[in-house]
């Protein structure tokens, strides 16, 4: 089992790159520990800015730094960064087009029993609806590294959501297929397509393996690029498979599943089932307990796929 959280990988990449690139600046809102960025702060104190518990300030200051040539990485819990600072993300980052990478840590229900204040089941809906804001949910530590390395090459705004805990690898060291803004095909399949983002990709991969044993061929797309979503991959899946299942650690309203449904409905109508968090405060529990309760796991995907295939026949 992998022990490295995606947030740790972000810190590792930034420490590596900051050695050569003095314009990389990391900002935290009393979140350097929870963002795994304490090591960056102590290694490059002159490239680190602490703003205290003030997320709106975090985003505006990041934008001001970026406007003066810095590459700002603003890290704060996804719940606060995405909605408390939403207007700063909209106006100072997206609208003013500043080179700010917003790192939403402990996203989704990572904070488990801390309750709805600390859950970010709305971050995709909030930020993806803003023009000029990109939204990424990497699935494992290896893809997170590839994503951050690529984002360092551009100067446009982006929001990156990662979870709190280490997640099992989806890919293998030395074999991480990655093209910027293209969904990664985790497995090919012809019966049903499972489109997943973030931590749900591993569940999708496991579900595809189980379905294979039952004679069902499932395609798995890792839609780490929620915006701009890989529309071509979605349409291709709708054409080549009988139905689509989306799964995400987000509200069913305005998330990746909503976007997939819109694309399929407009281009290649097929049955689409969205697996997501409910439109209510989630039950108390650790993330995995919450996922299992709402069937956001391999078993839930398998059950949904079996029913879909049965109904198709």
């Amino acid at each position: 089992m992998n022990k490295i959280a995606n947030r740790q990988v972000i810190c590792d990449v930034l420490i590596e790159k900051a050695k050569e690139d003095k314009d990389i600046v990391v900002l935290c809102s009393d979140s350097r520990g929870s963002a795994s960025l304490a090591e960056f702060a102590s290694t490059y104190p002159e490239q680190f800015v602490e703003v205290g518990i003030a997320e709106q300030n975090l985003v505006s200051i990041s934008a001001g730094l970026a406007k003066c040539g810095k590459k700002s990485f603003a890290a704060s819990p996804a719940c606060f960064l995405s909605t408390r600072s939403m207007e700063q993300c909209k106006v100072d980052v997206a609208y003013s087009n500043t080179n700010v990478k917003l790192i939403g840590i402990s996203g989704g229900v990572s904070y488990g029993a801390l309750g709805m204040t600390h859950h970010s089941a709305q971050d995709i809906a909030a930020l993806a609806s803003i023009p000029n804001m990109r939204v990424y949910l990497p699935s494992d530590r290896l893809q997170t590294r590839a994503l951050i390395e690529n984002l360092l090459k551009d100067e446009k705004p982006a929001y990156i959501r990662v979870g709190r805990n280490p997640v099992e690898d989806v890919y293998e060291e030395g074999n991480v297929p990655f093209k910027m803004d293209e969904a990664t095909v985790v497995s090919e399949g012809s019966d049903v397509t499972i489109i997943a983002s973030g931590e749900m990709v591993k569940a999708a991969k496991d579900a595809a393996a189980e379905l294979k044993d039952s004679g069902i061929s499932a395609r798995v797309l890792d839609m780490y690029c929620v915006k701009p979503i890989d529309e071509a991959a979605v349409i291709k899946a709708a054409k080549e498979t009988k139905a689509i299942i989306t799964i995400e650690e987000h509200s069913g309203i305005g998330g990746m599943g909503s976007m997939v449904s819109q694309i399929v409905a407009a281009n290649e109508p097929k049955k689409v089932i969205n697996l997501s968090l409910p439109d209510e405060p989630v039950i108390t529990g650790k993330s995995q307990e919450v996922f299992d309760y709402y069937a956001l796991n391999a078993a839930g995907i398998v059950k949904t796929a079996m029913e879909l295939i049965k109904n198709e026949e």
Partner: protein, 274 residues
């Protein structure tokens, strides 16, 4: 040197015409902030159209973005874009919209939603410190704007980081859209508020170019802390019948009012020229 006191009335004429033509705009705040912008853009800031991308240029953010007509008039007069462009102000498909937009030459940041400019300016000032650059950062806020909590997040960080390359100005015209600032949400005691956040506070008559000149000079020479200039202004300054009237926050003149206002501005321009 150019007579900036006459210029202040000349530009107010441009603003008055721009708003009358477009039938929209925030004239009261434009006229209160006009002299502050003139002092910055003609005297104190190191900015010009030929060095818009110079990393050492001074940075400015109009946090009270609704005073955009005054900002546009100053930028056009300083040659950032042709004055004729402003004939399209607020018109269909024009880029000269009712709030600052950085697609327009000379404008650094988009603004319009209040309470953003100071914190963005803090980021710019921090970047200047990191790069050991000599540029200064300026922002102008409205007094009604000070009710936004985000202003105080920025104030706190500027004091904490002792950003002496940052000067903020409050256009203290004492009126906001609903009436007196003191009735809407008390804004007196700004001295104590900013001082307690670690700022150097200066008072100036914000419609007096000599006093503004002295204030900006003092700010430049203040070390170890950011400076707040509380610019006591008159909303609508320049046309007597709109001065100190909350209704003129964003009222548009009738034909008679337009002519009367234009005449008064021209009279005052000529007087300033003498």
């Amino acid at each position: 040197m150019e007579n900036l006191k006459a210029k202040a009335f000349e530009l107010r004429k441009d603003i008055w015409k721009m708003i009358y033509r477009a039938k929209t705009g925030h004239v009261g705040g434009d006229f209160s902030v006009c002299d502050i912008l003139i002092s910055l853009y003609y005297k104190h800031m190191n900015v010009s159209p030929d060095k818009m991308n110079d990393p050492n240029r001074d940075r400015f953010i109009l946090s009270k973005g609704h005073s955009v007509e005054a900002y546009y008039s100053v930028l056009a007069d300083r040659g950032f874009f042709p004055k004729e462009d402003l004939e399209t102000f607020s018109q269909y498909k024009s880029k000269y919209i009712g709030h600052p937009n950085n697609k327009i030459n000379g404008i650094e940041m988009n603004s319009g939603s209040l309470g953003h400019g100071l914190a963005v300016a803090v980021g710019m000032a921090l970047a200047g410190k990191m790069d050991k650059a000599n540029y200064r950062v300026y922002t102008v806020m409205g007094d009604g704007e000070l009710a936004e909590g985000s202003v105080w997040e920025g104030a706190m960080a500027a004091g904490h980081y002792k950003l002496d390359n940052l000067t903020a100005v409050i256009d203290r015209n004492r009126l906001q859209i609903s009436g007196s600032t003191e009735d809407v949400m008390s804004q007196d005691s700004q001295d104590e508020r900013w001082k307690s956040f670690g700022w150097h506070v200066i008072h100036a008559n914000g419609n007096d170019l000599d006093e503004l000149d002295a204030a900006f000079t003092l700010a430049k020479n203040t070390k170890g802390k950011p400076t707040m200039i509380i610019a006591e202004t008159t909303k609508g300054y320049g046309i007597s019948f709109i001065e100190n009237k909350a209704a003129w926050h964003h009222k548009v003149a009738t034909a008679e009012e337009f002519e009367a206002g234009l005449s008064e501005l021209e009279r005052r321009r000529l007087m300033a020229n003498e």
